[in-house]
Symmetry: C2
Subunit: 318 residues, 2 copies
């Protein structure tokens, strides 16, 4: 199977990840996480909106000016106030979102699609005038009418965004549905596509992978998969998923840093690395069944699709 | 989206789950787990082979004769010795497996497909003569040539199995590949199809769901998703996945028992329920982001695809 060439990780541990129940990162921890992710090689690091608190604004400025290779994004409401703060604090990109599904439009802002687009025009123009990379995302895309999605995405593309985003905000999308919707959108726009997938029905990694197969170029992840409720796609899960199909596709990353990144963040959160975590869980390369252990000793590829050494790990045998 | 009518859970916590690194269940714990799963309503409970140890054999006999509604299966090699032990200890079904992929055939048994089928014929005939339900599974199905798979499945169907099994033994299959392969096999046999999916690339729940959409009727799960390496599809993950598409499809199960089942097994294993677990993780229904908390108070379906009350849980708001 051949995977698309264009692949960018948008790590949102410092935004989505901070919405995880036990996440309360200090400024020093935020910088340490950004440095680790940069060393690993993620292309984008997304931070909480500078409108969230004065400390968030200061941390955005610090990290944006820290000289990392990764581009620093901030995730803001589609408001001029937030856009101005993003520019003032040095964000290189702004990830805009607007609720577009019927359940969210009713409960959250009550605006029509035309009103949404009028607000978006002003904010996108301002950000582009300040050389800020812009992504516009329809929150809760998979409960939004596909015709509405396409109408909005075509409109914001005309306004000059670099990227549109599809977000499974509530974790309801199925893998094949993701493939179909992303394919349908891919056929309608020429800009890049970002995907953000929650894990409420256990498919965050799979859905993000199906989006990538269908033409999404930018994949949202967090360390360990932390996020609102039970999280989103994990960085190690996506690396495992892609590497098991084509290891060459992820060779540009410092894969051997993955265990330390996961361990460091788990320690900061006061949680264990979940046993089901790909690559970095204590048991990910542990073989116990008699039939497996004999075969793995003869030839590891008998029961291993990923080489643990690629990730600085070792297999263990019971 | 309409899901297939036929849905059976094969819980293999007492077989696959025992291959998890820290699983060392006592006989009393095995019985307690079987009773909880039976109360929940899983249709099948799979136990370790009676050939594994004298204690495994005694526990199989105890649980098989305990009067549970769930059918008691044992997972055995395709050998007459194991088949006789299964019958002697009262198993109502036998899940046979045979390695068929090139990597496993080379390393593990070196037999040709014709030799595999000759052994299978004898074992299947013996088990059917003793009124034992039989499933025949090609281990490592997704690294097995599709033409070989179909040849074997058609042959064992003729031999009288109730069910064939597709197993992603090494966790390499992608969701769309699972859908395609199961669909192709579905077109070639009329018997039931079971699916068993590992989580090495983070897609166990998604792959099992795609198999169900494509015509698999029997879905392998374990409590929490424990199993060899980083596990297989979890019972709570599959319930969440199916319920988020169609809650009616899972109404026959005692969904309110799910949190206690996961907690009990996590305690036996000395692990936390992973934060990413669907439904039963401490944070699965915890809302933290400001935008989410306001909306959820106004209307829970804004950011919830599953009603926590259905599972005896409550939402919490930061």
């Amino acid at each position: 199977m051949s995977l698309p060439e264009r692949l960018f990780f948008v790590d949102t541990t410092l935004r989505e990840g901070e919405q995880f129940a036990s996440a309360r990162f200090t400024s020093a921890q935020r910088l340490a996480i950004a440095e680790m992710l940069d060393a690993f090689g993620v292309e984008y690091i997304e931070l909480t909106s500078p409108a969230a608190s004065p400390q968030s604004a200061r941390d955005l400025a610090t990290i944006a000016r820290h000289g990392l290779r990764a581009r620093i994004l901030t995730h803001i409401r589609c408001h001029m106030t937030d856009a101005r703060l993003a520019v003032e604090h040095g964000a290189q990109g702004a990830n805009l979102l607007f609720a577009t599904s019927e359940p969210l439009r009713t409960v959250s802002h009550g605006r029509s699609l035309n009103e949404i687009l009028a607000e978006a025009q002003q904010v996108i123009t301002y950000l582009r005038d300040h050389d800020v990379e812009v992504r516009f995302s329809c929150e809760d895309s998979f409960r939004t009418d596909l015709a509405d999605l396409i109408r909005i995405y075509r409109a914001v593309e005309t306004m000059g965004v670099q990227r549109i985003g599809l977000a499974d905000t509530v974790g309801i999308a199925t893998p094949r549905q993701v493939y179909e919707v992303v394919s349908a959108v891919r056929a309608e726009v020429t800009c890049d596509i970002e995907f953000h997938g929650h894990n409420d029905s256990g498919c965050a990694v799979a859905n993000t992978f199906c989006a990538y197969e269908a033409g999404a170029t930018h994949l949202d992840v967090t360390v360990l998969g932390i996020g609102e409720r039970n999280g989103i796609a994990s960085l190690s899960g996506m690396i495992a998923r892609i590497a098991s199909v084509d290891p060459n596709r992820v060779r540009r990353y410092r894969l051997d840093l993955l265990p330390k990144i996961d361990e460091t963040v788990a320690t900061m959160l006061g949680i264990e690395i979940p046993f089901n975590q790909c690559i970095t869980s204590p048991t990910a390369f542990h073989h116990k069944a008699g039939m497996h252990t004999k075969a793995v000793l003869a030839d590891p590829r008998s029961y291993e699709v990923l080489d643990p050494n690629l990730f600085g790990r070792q297999r263990t045998i019971a």
